[in-house]
């Protein structure tokens, strides 16, 4: 293969790399020859893609199925107001091409699944995982193990971040720990909130995604000591950090094929498992009609006080965690409509009250305050 060369413009662009003794033109050549796949172009994906593009990684693949939302702009610095509503991969490609015309991009406007992961990921030298859910994290990890490529991992929650380099094969051919050595199995669904559910401080993905980009560059160029067999954890609120040493867990079964990760993470019930008991529902239109008709009913809001501060529809605030102890405030003899953000927590509250205290007059507001904001009152803030 002919040796990779650089144009005058490229040499000038990368000059600050070229004058670092241990990096030099060899490091830059390795970057230009590299093929990196970034899975998820959100909070972590933004700094990752910006820095990898600026640094001159030759070929970058971007996987994301989402469109840019107003609520992304607080942390996803890859996007601007003009991108809201656009597919993230298209908005990302446009922004990145203007940052560095010497980089080739390939976009995949799709959700990574067990059916397409190996096809998409093969041919890449390395994957950087910036996804936002457990099923995709296990999927990316297992596919990297099967393909024998490193998985540069990072994840974030509120003020906390984690970084590691998984499945890295060193010069002696020894393969380092992977995600399953750290967490053999996922937590039960719904207990570990995502950024959308639990929130995240906007600058955190900037910090953690930049560390992740640095590890990608180190792995490609072979400089320094990559974060292999170690997990970096960061608490931005207390500025507390640890670099924890990891080992291969010999009790684990080897990873030889991809599985159904939705089922593995308990999100999709196994076939024989029963669906949750349905609850009685009212639509936002029906609620609006009740209000206009001046009907007798009680509206209960089971969200948290800080959510109530963002937007509310005159419900009585009784957070889900306290519905049983405050059940004396919930009427048993008139129609009671219970709502939350999307309708999930309110359905849980209704099942709890029905099963424990024998209520039979409870109705779930279908779609929650999000549906109310969309269908009835567009002035309400959504989150």
């Amino acid at each position: 293969m002919a040796q990779t060369t650089f144009s005058k413009e490229e040499l000038e662009r990368y000059s600050r790399h070229l004058i670092i003794p241990e990096f030099n033109i060899e490091g830059q050549r390795k970057l230009k020859e590299a093929r990196v796949l970034v899975v998820g172009s959100g909070g972590l994906g933004s700094p990752l893609l910006l820095y990898l593009t600026a640094a001159g990684v030759g070929h970058i693949g971007i996987v994301d199925f989402d469109v840019v939302d107003e609520s992304n702009l607080q942390r996803q610095v890859l996007f601007g107001v003009e991108n809201v509503g656009m597919p993230k991969v298209d908005a990302a490609k446009k922004r990145l091409e203007s940052l560095n015309p010497h980089v080739e991009f390939e976009t995949y406007n799709t959700m990574l699944t067990s059916d397409n992961a190996l096809e998409i990921m093969k041919g890449y030298d390395l994957v950087a995982d910036g996804t936002d859910n457990f099923p995709t994290r296990y999927l990316v990890n297992d596919a990297c193990v099967i393909l024998g490529i490193p998985n540069v991992y990072a994840s974030i929650f509120r003020f906390d971040g984690q970084v590691s380099v998984f499945n890295y094969t060193d010069k002696e051919g020894v393969v380092g720990p992977n995600y399953r050595d750290l967490f053999p199995e996922p937590p039960p669904p719904g207990l570990v909130p995502s950024c959308a559910e639990g929130g995240v401080i906007g600058v955190l993905p900037g910090i953690i995604g930049s560390l992740q980009a640095n590890e990608v560059i180190k792995v490609i160029t072979g400089i320094g000591n990559p974060l292999v067999g170690r997990l970096f954890v960061f608490d931005a609120l207390n500025f507390d950090t640890r670099t924890l040493n990891l080992n291969k867990n010999k009790n684990l079964k080897p990873i030889t094929e991809l599985i159904d990760y939705q089922q593995f993470c308990g999100i999709k019930p196994a076939e024989e498992k029963q669906e949750e008991v349905p609850v009685k529902e009212v639509s936002v239109q029906e609620l609006h009609q009740l209000i206009s008709d001046g009907e007798q009913y009680q509206l209960i809001d089971v969200r948290e006080p800080y959510e109530y501060e963002i937007s509310q529809i005159n419900g009585e605030l009784i957070p889900l965690s306290s519905v049983l102890e405050k059940a004396n405030l919930i009427s048993k003899d008139k129609k009671v409509i219970i709502h939350c953000r999307s309708g999930k927590r309110s359905a849980d509250a209704i099942r709890l009250l029905q099963d424990t205290l024998g209520y039979n007059n409870l109705y779930n507001l279908k779609g929650g305050i999000l549906a109310y904001a969309k269908e009835i009152d567009q002035s309400l803030a959504t989150y």
């Binding site: 910036g130 996804t131 994840s155 509120r158 967490f183 570990v192 207390n238 507390d240």
Partner: protein
Amino acid sequence: MNVRLIAFGIAKDIIGSNKTVVEIDPPYKLTQFREYLFLNYPEFKKLQKISFAVDQDYQLDSYVLSENQEVVIIPPVSGG
């Protein structure tokens, strides 16, 4: 025997603090430590999958703790 507990991520929210000293009973295996957490912070029981590092090394449940060691709770984190 006392060990120093350091929490990250959602474990901080469950404990209500990022650092605390806890007293555990013999035979001081990480299994006992896990039981201590389940008993005093039932949210961990629901979460089930938590990993530990002792003096910065990842350890499995059979590891035996010593006085004043630092135990870091590594919670699963999925956000991106």
